[in-house]
């Protein structure tokens, strides 16, 4: 019935949220926020991390209950929306952190909470057929019987989208949907989004990758610090206006670059091999230089950082620091030698989210903080935390709160901050800006620049081409576990890097 209604009138208001208020203990997360979504449009919801976008969308999808204001979905007023009601009303949300039951199959995940039953018995084959049908419509090549945990992240995300479509969602919320997809997969996603748009769905699109909005977005709503700032047609705004509205101040440079003179060689990797995705890796890092590692998802960059840091075993290869060969068998060896890693997955590898900021910052430095008896000296710990918070501009009321309560950007700062007390020689950043907002990104860039100026070798892995080219001095491109190209950032183009990034795959396909 509702589907018909959508079909009849394109562009009618399907979601109307007025003066929404939401308070968490100690924080006013949303303060009189207005939001409107029409059918057949893609609405970008923009704002820095902590601006309240996710909170607003969680209210729309019934995860949180609003404290004040009114919310209408398809003209019907909802006060205490539950996730189930939201689902029934046609709202589906695709989460930033993939929310799947890893142990269950694709079909089981797609039908979770609304299984088809015949009396008491699950109708497995029917559900599988339907799942296969939906995946087929999306042209996604996944066996509906496969266990979700065995799929790569990009495919898991496709399953989440398929899940949303399978409930005939008419309001689709996508929270950072492209953060783990390759260029080809993003094109595929956009094709699907356009199809949904044509079918009269309203899509809320949350993303920090402003450059990709161009391709699909119709209108934008901008939020900052829990408040509604403005909305309007996307094409009537300039990128600078959008950024200024999000950040609340002019960002002078999106990619601040600092020039340094290149010094002596600090770090060298020779013939490193580890598993399938690290093959014959050779490179050096110099003083006063940021080396970017570009490539597509699964090119082996993260695996390389892990092999260097001693997380995964190496099959062979040598690592030199200041022209002396060092042996790294485990992360502790690397840390002692002065090589540190800020890993890709903050929540999984980077932080103990249930511990306080203080404990996180102190964890890798306990050897420096303890006295001879192994007792932690509180004053030293205080000093370390204070310095980290001051130097990195970590926005937090206190270092005693849990790392989980920080926004993404501030979490990233803690991940980096825990290494800075150690006078490291080599700092490896793996996707340090993933999922964090423009303002925090610039702060991370500035931090890398500062390290570079201090003569520390910086290895910077990123899948976002503009930032690699904008921040790194030299760019090494990887594909399929090998280094396929090395270019100076100033003299290259995105196309050239992309050419290297896809080189090996093409050769393989041809042979």
């Amino acid at each position: 019935m509702q589907k018909k209604k959508v079909g009849k009138q394109m562009g009618e208001v399907i979601v109307s949220m007025k003066n929404i208020v939401k308070t968490f203990p100690g924080v006013k997360a949303l303060d009189n926020v207005n939001f409107e979504l029409r059918s057949g449009e893609v609405m970008a919801l923009l704002g820095e991390n902590g601006a309240g976008k996710s909170t607003l969308m969680k209210i729309l999808s019934g995860v949180y209950t609003k404290d004040g204001g009114s919310m209408k979905i398809f003209g019907k007023e909802y006060d205490n929306l539950t996730p189930k009601q939201a689902q029934a009303a046609g709202v589906a949300i695709i989460h930033q952190e993939l929310n799947m039951c890893r142990h269950l199959s694709v079909t089981e995940n797609m039908f979770l909470g609304r299984e088809k039953v015949n009396g008491m018995i699950l109708k497995n084959s029917e559900m599988e057929a339907e799942a296969a049908d939906i995946l087929g419509q999306l042209k996604i090549d996944i066996d509906p019987r496969q266990t979700v945990g065995d799929l790569p992240v990009s495919k898991q995300q496709m399953v989440e989208i398929a899940k949303a479509l399978s409930i005939h969602a008419k309001i689709l919320i996508m929270d950072e949907p492209t953060s783990s997809l390759t260029a080809k997969e993003i094109d595929e996603l956009f094709r699907i989004i356009r199809k949904l748009k044509a079918d009269g769905c309203g899509i809320v699109y949350i993303s920090h990758r402003l450059e990709e909005l161009q391709a699909i977005v119709d209108r934008v709503t901008i939020m900052r610090d829990g408040q509604y700032i403005t909305d309007g047609e996307f094409h009537s705004m300039t990128m600078d206006q959008i950024i200024a509205n999000m950040v609340g101040r002019e960002i002078k440079e999106q990619f601040p670059r600092v020039s340094c003179t290149k010094g002596k060689k600090i770090f060298e990797v020779r013939n490193l091999n580890a598993g399938k995705l690290v093959r014959d890796i050779n490179f050096s890092l110099y003083e006063g230089e940021i080396v970017g590692f570009a490539g597509l998802m699964g090119a082996g960059r993260t695996e390389t950082t892990r092999a260097i840091f001693g997380v995964d075993p190496k099959s062979n290869g040598q690592i030199f620091l200041d022209d002396k060969e060092i042996s790294i068998q485990c992360p502790m060896d690397a840390i002692r030698a002065g090589i540190v890693l800020a890993p890709e997955d903050r929540k999984k590898d980077g932080l103990c989210t249930k511990l306080s900021i203080r404990h996180n910052l102190a964890l890798p430095n306990l050897d420096l903080l303890c006295n001879a008896m192994g007792v932690i000296r509180g004053s030293k710990e205080d000093q370390l935390c204070e310095e980290a918070v001051r130097n990195l501009l970590i926005k937090t009321p206190s270092v005693e709160i849990n790392a989980a309560n920080l926004s993404g950007g501030n979490q990233q700062k803690v991940v980096v901050g825990k290494w800075l007390a150690r006078n490291s020689r080599v700092v490896i950043f793996d996707e340090p800006t993933r999922g964090i907002d423009v303002g925090a990104k610039v702060e991370i860039y500035n931090l890398m620049n500062k390290l570079k100026q201090e003569g520390i070798a910086v290895m910077f892995v990123s899948s976002e081409m503009p930032e690699v080219l904008g921040i790194a001095d030299r760019v090494i491109v990887m594909c399929d576990g090998r280094i396929t190209g090395e270019v100076m950032a100033r003299d290259t183009t995105q196309n050239e890097v992309l050419k290297y990034a896809t080189e090996f795959e093409k050769k393989q396909q041809a042979s």
Binding site: S61, V63, P83, K84, Q87, I93, H95, N99, M100, C101, R102, H103, L104, S105, E108, N109, L112, G113, R114, E115, V117, M120, I121, L122, R145, T147, G275, K276
Partner: protein, 338 residues
């Protein structure tokens, strides 16, 4: 038709967790044959009958605990509920009350305990280890209090003799189709709970909340109800085991079922059920319970002392999980290198 059948078979083999089940059954056969070679009596029909009867207790306890392990929780109160069920039913029967009523009362008490566990863990989000530690003491305390801190007299005496005999035969001493009733009861309950877990919506939800409780919640799964249901299953299993123990002893023992919750964990874990939740098949629990009982039985037959028995069983539990971990990490490495 034939092709279809083959497909079903292949599919069955491909089911998640089937590998661990097959390993457990293989281990069971090896252990059984090994004991049989040492002592031929292990293969005797009499011994097989006894084996089936005594494994029934572990099977039921294992099923109950497996439900909780799959949801990522644990139930420490199972053993105490066994004791409570045995004491309540025995006390009522010695008072001349009809066994049927005694059974119903015992069942209700256990279900109450299960609901409380479920609410504490599901609704109030207490750590299951703590919540059920509490109910473990509470229900053991109840087991003691039922008959004023004393074991009961024999249930099949005086006016209740006939009914008591029937009760004992039904749950322990009688046979149907040549096999002890105890095993039939356990098998029927096993099949019911097997069906519930693998073929119904509730079962699917149990796996889902064990795998990722947030994802399940966001998909509209009622986490509180599902948790309560899982604790109810363990309560039912515990109650029946209590009745079996009562029938076996012919009286109520306050310490009945002591440590059984851990036997349940062992049976599940040997059968490949991950204590971290989300994975495992009840078929594995069946194998696990059988492995456990075969070991105990075999060690008894060859005259091993209790100390040795405990020691061997402990090693087997650790070894079976270790095997699982090694096999799985081996797979992992293969995948990364291929």
């Amino acid at each position: 038709m034939k092709e279809n059948k083959q497909g079903t078979f292949k599919r069955l083999l491909g089911t998640r967790g089937m590998g661990a089940v097959i390993t457990a059954f293989a281990g069971l056969i090896i252990i059984y044959v090994a004991f049989g070679i040492i002592d031929r009596n292990v293969f005797s029909g009499q011994n097989v009958m006894n084996l089936l009867r005594s494994m029934s207790k572990y099977l039921l306890i294992g099923v109950g605990q497996s439900y909780l392990l799959i949801t990522g929780n644990i139930d420490l109160s199972i053993g105490s509920m066994v004791g409570m069920s045995a004491m309540i039913s025995a006390t009522l029967m010695t008072m001349g009350i009809h066994p049927m009523i005694a059974i119903v009362v015992a069942l209700i008490c256990c279900l109450c305990c299960g609901v409380i566990n479920g609410i504490l863990v599901g609704k109030f989000k207490l750590p299951p280890f703590i919540a059920t530690l509490g109910t473990m003491f509470v229900s053991r305390g109840a087991a003691y209090m039922v008959n004023n801190n004393r074991n009961t007299d024999a249930i099949a005496t005086g006016i209740g003799k006939e009914a008591g005999d029937r009760f004992q035969n039904f749950f322990y001493y009688g046979k149907t189709l040549g096999i002890f009733n105890t095993f039939w009861i356990a098998l029927i309950l096993f099949l019911v709970f097997f069906f519930l877990l693998s073929k119904t919506r509730t079962g699917r939800h149990i796996y889902a909340i064990g795998s990722n409780v947030d994802a399940a919640k966001l998909s509209g799964v009622n986490v509180v109800n599902t948790t309560i249901k899982a604790y109810l299953v363990s309560a039912v299993c515990a109650c029946v085991v209590g009745l079996i123990l009562c029938a076996q002893a012919g009286m109520g023992n306050m310490e009945a079922g002591n440590m059984y919750e851990m036997y349940g964990v062992a049976a599940g874990v040997i059968g490949g059920i991950s204590p971290l939740g989300g994975t495992g098949l009840l078929l594995g629990t069946f194998a696990g319970a059988a492995v456990w009982q075969t070991l105990e039985n075999g060690l008894n037959m060859i005259g091993a002392q209790v100390g040795i028995q405990r020691l061997v069983i402990g090693i087997i539990v650790v070894f079976s999980v270790l095997l699982d971990v090694v096999v799985r990490s081996g797979n992992f490495r293969k995948k990364a290198n291929s």
